[in-house]
């Protein structure tokens, strides 16, 4: 049995058709020298990153080694560690400790809240529910940051909806009890560290959910089954399989929540007490006080802390499963 498979001679393509002019010659050149194309594509972003971004960061770092003349208010452009000496004053250390504690608590709470949501999205949500998940997580990011914070100020105010809700549930004693505690308490939630904490968690939560969800998405479902098959209870499966494999995602998310909290100056200014966070200190030092070297030194603090944080995370094996 033979089938006629010969094509009409006229339509048969040439074996090596010529290139199509300038554009063709250019694409042939890039095909032969892929490094050239790579160089052309990378040059603009590398210039941006190297000069504009890293460069200005180094300019900032350099500022922190200058000092301010206390009488004239002029900046003395000579290398000195005096500014760092100022940074280590008790009042400033207090600000640093307060900010780091807040950032750590916000990160921890974000991880705890984000994990079940991310787990649901990665494991169970399909089709329309998945779209709804992304919408639900991203939607708050589309509206103005300031509007959201002021909305929270109303929610947390003494006459706000939260107080009303507690009253309706006959749980006002619980709220009052909490507010009467030292440090975390205050006149109302909107002027307490608890309020600052709640709003921080709310605002940064999407930045934790998305990387954790991405990490969980990459965990094959049969690993959970295998763990269960080998006798691990759901809790053991979480500890021994899911958590270690989601850890890179949690660390990635915590880099966002931790560093964003370290640097933010708007949330604690609108919601919380009058005690300062690093961001506010930077703002007031370079603005009202005009002490740019000290502001720069304050800025170095989050960078150093994040450096240590990442180093510690790497040592703990957070990136092993990548």
């Amino acid at each position: 049995m033979s089938v006629d498979v010969t094509m009409p001679r006229a339509t048969a393509p040439a074996i090596l058709p010529g290139s199509g002019g300038m554009r063709g010659a250019l694409s042939d050149l890039f095909w032969r020298r892929p490094q050239l194309l790579l160089l052309l594509m990378l040059l603009p972003p590398v210039l941006w990153l190297g000069i504009v971004y890293i460069g200005s960061l180094f300019a900032l770092l350099a500022q922190s080694f200058f000092s301010i003349d206390e009488y004239s208010g002029l900046i003395n452009r000579q290398f000195t560690l005096k500014t760092y000496g100022d940074l280590l004053q008790a009042a400033n250390l207090d600000i640093i400790l307060r900010t780091v504690t807040m950032a750590a608590l916000v990160t921890l709470a974000s991880a705890v809240v984000a994990f079940p949501i991310a787990y649901y999205a990665a494991r169970y949500a399909r089709g329309r529910w998945k779209a709804l998940f992304y919408l639900g997580v991203m939607l708050p990011l589309w509206s103005s940051y300031l509007v959201k914070i002021y909305a929270w100020k109303l929610i947390l105010a003494k006459e706000g909806i939260l107080t009303w809700l507690f009253a309706k549930l006959h749980l006002l004693w619980l709220l009052d009890g909490w507010l009467s505690l030292p440090v975390v308490g205050g006149n109302s939630l909107s002027v307490s560290f608890t309020g600052t904490f709640i709003v921080f968690v709310y605002v940064w939560l999407p930045f934790m959910i998305l990387p954790v969800q991405a990490a969980l998405e990459r965990v094959p479902g049969n690993l959970v089954e295998a763990s269960s098959d080998l006798g691990a209870s759901p809790g053991q499966t979480f500890r021994n399989v899911l958590f270690p494999l989601a850890l890179p995602g949690i660390v990635a998310g915590s880099i966002f929540t931790f560093s964003l909290t370290l640097g933010d100056y708007i949330i604690p200014q609108i919601i919380g007490t009058s005690r300062l966070f690093i961001g506010q200190a930077v703002y007031s030092q370079q603005g009202t006080a005009g002490n740019i070297p000290l502001a720069a030194a304050f800025t170095v603090v989050p960078i150093v802390i994040m450096g240590f944080y990442l180093w510690g995370a790497k040592r703990m094996g957070a990136f092993d499963a990548l």
Binding site: M1, P220, N222, L223, E225, A226, S227, S228, D229, L230, G231, A232, S233, Q236, N240, V241, P244, L245, D320, A321
Partner: protein
Amino acid sequence: MTSAVSFQKVSRHFGSVRAVDAVDLDIAQGEFFAMLGPSGSGKTTCLRLIAGFEQPTSGSISIFGERAEGVPPYRRNVNTVFQDYALFPHLNVLDNVAYGLMVKGVGKAERHKAAEEALSLVRLPGYGARRPGQLSGGQRQRVALARALVNQPKVLLLDEPLGALDLKLRENMQEELKSLQKALGITFVFVTHDQGEALSMADRVAVFNDGRIMQIGTPEDIYQRPRTRFVADFVGSSNVLPPDFVQRYSGQHRWGSLRPESIRVSRAASGEGVAARLVSTNYLGATTRLALDADGLKLHAVVPAGTALPAEGEAVMLTFNREHLHLMDEPA
């Protein structure tokens, strides 16, 4: 003796899909049992029902006489070798193998010793420090096997464990699995779509189609005496003969099956036999497979390599021993 695994009228429906439909099954202790069928036939769902990943929609499952419905996978003394091995990527080979003992609270030194022994059993001693990503497919398969065996399961479930291996490795592993099963005396339940694998390894084979078991029997039973057209065709792709054809040779108006290797092909243009035309020849190495057309009935014959063959398109005469013509239960 109680059965290792027993299904009574077990069904598992996913919405309107009857993945497993009223299956009755008894797997004896120490048996090497194969579940054979095309994809979507319900064999893997049956395995998952034994493992506990699925719960039956109706019917009852017992494992060593104990009712298993509602018992989660982690409370069953049954272990699975997964199709794509499902090794934990963040643990090294030794910790992968020791995982089952670790979650049971066995101390580190003891469980590592047991894991090392299990690795020797699958002929991978000293591989403990490696990561699963550094192993070849065949080695991962052995690690998955060791990880299951270290728990000393009552029943070992294997979900197409050899599917991803190349031919040579697969043949080696078939022999090894078979001898391992004999040595350990554990009940093996093996899911495969490869009929050769099922026939060569299993003590008994269940042939699945559309969520039902078509036939359960020894490999000889299944191969020589298929009960339905499906079994005849799926296991060894037998020639399924229509009742009218069968009646001429056996006197009975029933469906029949004739193995390709039972057909002799000769060039004689006349004489006793079935007149046919050779459509094509397909060289398979040890054998050659012939596609034949006997007056509209498509047949296959397998002849040893080296046999002198007529040219494609030529008229041939087919003969076969009438004893080899097997009549099937299926009504005409």
